[in-house]
Symmetry: D2
Subunit: 342 residues, 4 copies
């Protein structure tokens, strides 16, 4: 079968490899689509550790081709989304229920062969059924959505809250929808691209702002701004120093800042402790998807969360090599590798 293999840092190739066999308790899934995420680019560049040679791709869905021994509840022909993150169950973090912080986390598409391939094997505990009636590409959004659900859970949004979302990529645009769903009645998306701001409006953002014009913090929080005094919750989804430094200032007294965006390791940003303390701002970070993938699958399956507007490109394996080896195209929200294209 075809697979996009990371063979070493900076070396990604389309290869013909053997189709895997599902082990005990595993499902062999014929991939329908697999999203290209910033993490794939980090892995390619060696900025995040992986275990080459390995097939990349951790945002995938597909149809069960074959089930291994000991599988129950799944049958050939079912559609599933896979949660890539496999916790060990044995380290202190697993044993206190913080499975996303597992010391021995193994991720499909990073440490074991992933979804940029015609087939992928996953443990049945990491598979979640999706309806066959669903448009086949939608399932590839379950993984990023599961991460966003975790972040929005941490935000503890209450009915009537106001939320600022910083960054209008796929994460930001899912968070906008989740924030509305969670009861926020004001959701302001801040992103530079005009196009993404338009998408956000369609997805439920009540307002938008372009951070490149003037000082976004004072503009939004001013007496006559969109959110006088700041927002109840600020969710950072850009992963750049600028937005992380802006985030506390956009929160109101007693507000919460949730960081979803990933900065490079070792890079520091500046915060003002006095301001955090006198206004008692809570600063939490959200890492991947503990116990949220099933909820993601359900929200995608029911169409509650819209993902169609987030699909920028459908590409084949060959184009996939290029797409992963280079930065995302300007304005692109999500490109998906779809086996069969090309």
């Amino acid at each position: 079968m075809k697979a996009l293999r990371l063979e070493a840092t900076g070396k990604l190739a389309l290869r013909e490899v053997e189709r895997p066999d599902p082990g005990v308790g595993e499902l062999l899934v014929r991939v329908e689509a697999c999203g290209i995420c910033g993490t794939d680019r980090h892995l390619f560049l060696g900025e995040f550790p992986s275990k080459p040679p390995v097939t990349l791709g951790h945002e995938f869905c597909g149809i069960i081709e074959r089930v291994g021994d000991g599988v129950s509840g799944f049958r050939e022909g079912m559609r599933v989304t896979g949660d890539p993150n496999i916790a060990c169950g044995q380290c202190p973090e697993c044993q206190r229920g913080r499975v996303n912080l597992c010391h021995n986390l193994q991720a499909t598409g990073i440490h074991r062969d992933g979804g940029f391939a015609e087939y992928v094997c996953i443990p049945q505990q990491k598979a979640f059924e999706l309806p066959l009636a669903l448009p086949p590409l939608h399932g590839a959004f379950c993984e990023p959505l599961a991460c966003c659900i975790h972040g929005v859970d941490l935000a503890e949004i209450r009915t009537g809250s106001s939320v600022v979302v910083l960054g209008g990529g796929v994460i930001g645009l899912l968070v906008v929808q989740l924030a509305r769903l969670a009861g926020a009645t004001k959701v302001v998306l801040v992103t530079r691209s005009e196009e993404k701001r338009r998408v956000a409006e369609r997805l439920g953002a009540t307002a938008n702002a372009d951070p490149s014009v003037g000082d976004i913090v004072s503009r939004l929080t001013a007496h006559d701004g969109l959110l006088p005094g700041g927002a109840d919750v600020v969710i950072e989804c850009a992963g750049v120093a600028e937005t992380i430094e802006q985030a506390p200032g956009l929160a109101r007294r007693g507000g919460t800042v949730v960081i979803l965006g990933v900065m490079p390791q070792g890079v520091k940003v500046a915060i003002e402790p006095f301001d955090l303390l006198f206004r008692e701002i809570k600063l939490v970070s959200s890492f991947i998807n503990p116990f949220t993938h099933r909820r993601a699958a359900e929200l995608i399956a029911s169409g509650t969360i819209q993902v169609e507007p987030l699909i920028s490109r459908r590409i084949g394996f060959k184009e996939g090599v290029e797409a992963i080896s280079n930065p995302a195209r300007k304005g692109e929200i999500r490109a998906l590798v779809v086996p069969g294209i090309d």
Copy 2:
């Protein structure tokens, strides 16, 4: 009566002023002791805003001399501790229950005449009875203890947790005791002064460390350190850039950092977002004493929290002027102004 009056920035004087009359719902309290806190020095230096001319002193206790009209539940002769912070009840923060973040907070000893005087007037809602059998100076520790209780509540310590406390002043030494009380089985106090580390040991710290020797973070969290992998909870009680920057590194994956220490306004410190995110460190700040003063009074009254070892000096009003106008003496934990001395 005698009172220490802040008359302008940098101008503090012992004055003879008129004894106040308790208004409706107020108590006139004969002060038994009033602690000198870093905040008093900030007020003197104009680093925190106040409303001179005003009598300073917000950590006080005493005996009710007279009760105003409409007072119920209090009588002359009772001993009380006063919570200095008076919220307006009407701003958005008060009306969402975040009274410590009140937009119109009025504090006794900052905005209205305080406890460095022979008498002080306080609203009955801000008075809490203490037993007459209690050593008279102990009540002056209720206010800082109430702040620490709030911080330790935010830390969500569970039975069997490990805690690092940074800074061995009065706040750190109260937090050490509260952390033990809250179920932490390992409590490590980090402070430079040998003497304070000895006091901490007597108060329940299970270990101590001197931060001036080597790199405290790697030393404590190393495989063979006191807290391999870090502590469940880190409570910053020094209020300096160094400790705030160290705090996240001292926390384990999934750990919580609580900042109690106050840095000067405008000063920034550096954090590493990647580290906070991948280890999902929660960073919260604790500001004063919302709904905790009564609990503080009870823990002092019952002797559960020890304060005798925290009393470094008992001084009169005259010496008070000097003590407030200058930095704390080396090794001093708490100096108290005691009317009648001198």
Copy 3:
């Protein structure tokens, strides 16, 4: 001015009384509407304690006619809704922030003159501005909505949750809307009246059920029921033994039951501890509106929560006497006393 006075148990009369003067920090409000609630009937019947002679009415809104001394932030001509519940600030519950449990709670319309009158006086801390553009009767729903917000907060609904609401009165129909707003994607209203089920559908309930047909618990939670295995959250809004006993059975493993409905004092219902334990059902009760009235005012002001369909009758004072002295009419959701009618 006209006022509906409870003069003794069972003795309610329309009287001409003197218009009150706003005291210090008080607002005199010209009443636009005041809802008749089950509590008013309990007070009339002496089933809940009150302090006759007193003007009833605790769900009111109106226009500020005059402001007392010391009022800030309010002016004549503003529209406000009043939170009737005035906590003492001094009892142990107030001082731990549980103000709705205040030992000395004084409620406008129960212990002090209320809103079934041409004018009512309220403390400024208990007034919340509403836009003048709002239909004048809507503000009368802030009080019940604030109670429902508290209940729904306690339910800790997360995005994608399922919720059963038992009872389709004004409380149930507000809770249906709040549950949707809070992120529930399935909200099933259970009430006997066909008409109320239709209203619920218009207000966002995703399904309905008539409890009088068969066994509602097994019907809803069966494999082929609306909520196989039960709901994440069950909110009881009927206040009858039947629904309280049904509630745990309607919850899924690990689910939460919130009781908003008020049963008569002393009456007991049966629960099965084994079932609560093995399925770890959480059972919480929600009492009035701690720190939620401002949020209610905002949700009404913005039209996020719809109240127009909840208005069954607009009546004058004279009809009000009758309406309060008798049970609610069949199918009636909320009757409002509107000064000027009749």
Copy 4:
């Protein structure tokens, strides 16, 4: 090897069976001690479902005799305690992190061969190291302690809280200690046996009461009682209707009741909804040990929780048959089967 086998309801026998071999990822443990718990008696009587023929015993510890393939972090000769509860990882409850509510829970000693034997096999994820220096029987208390930790976590005890514990068996006496550890400054144990009340005193209870004398609720909560107005937290550890019905009345306004005791299936008790609502009492139940076994092992290992006073009898296998087939002896706290005795 010797093993106590449940062969059918009411049929328990000491048998010679083959020593098991550790499977992949499993440990073969030479049992040092295994506690006899009420659950064993329920299994014997067929009151709880099990899968005979099976070796009973779920509260065990021992020395690793052999490790299966794929085991890491464990070696022969280590001492371990085993968490008996094995969740499937695949049902909705597992996938939302509520592993104790797993639909397919498999428990060692109930569904798979347990600890009343010379050897037992357990998955490495369910093993937790204990120091070799620990008295060998102490490890048998990790399992009940882990259940109690879960219950005490749910109680959300804060520093300075008051707690009533109902029932002075092994659960109650562990909960007394945990409540103190969690910061409760008043812990009142209510149990009928004088002897158990004495043990409780030694273990940290600040007071005791005999429920057979007069009305325990009014006695404790009266103005001049041990806990005027009630306790912040009530933890039910007796599992009888009487104590479950008493529990809410023992809680103060805003208090929490945690039920740990197990009543028979189908049996109902009466609660008063009015009282729960007007005093906003929270009623939660605690089922087994989600993510708490490691903490239990640490608290036993460090001696923070004392278990020596809870050991009533050490018996051999033969006596074990009798002990399990009959009710606990009067005054007995915990009897342990110790291989090698007899």
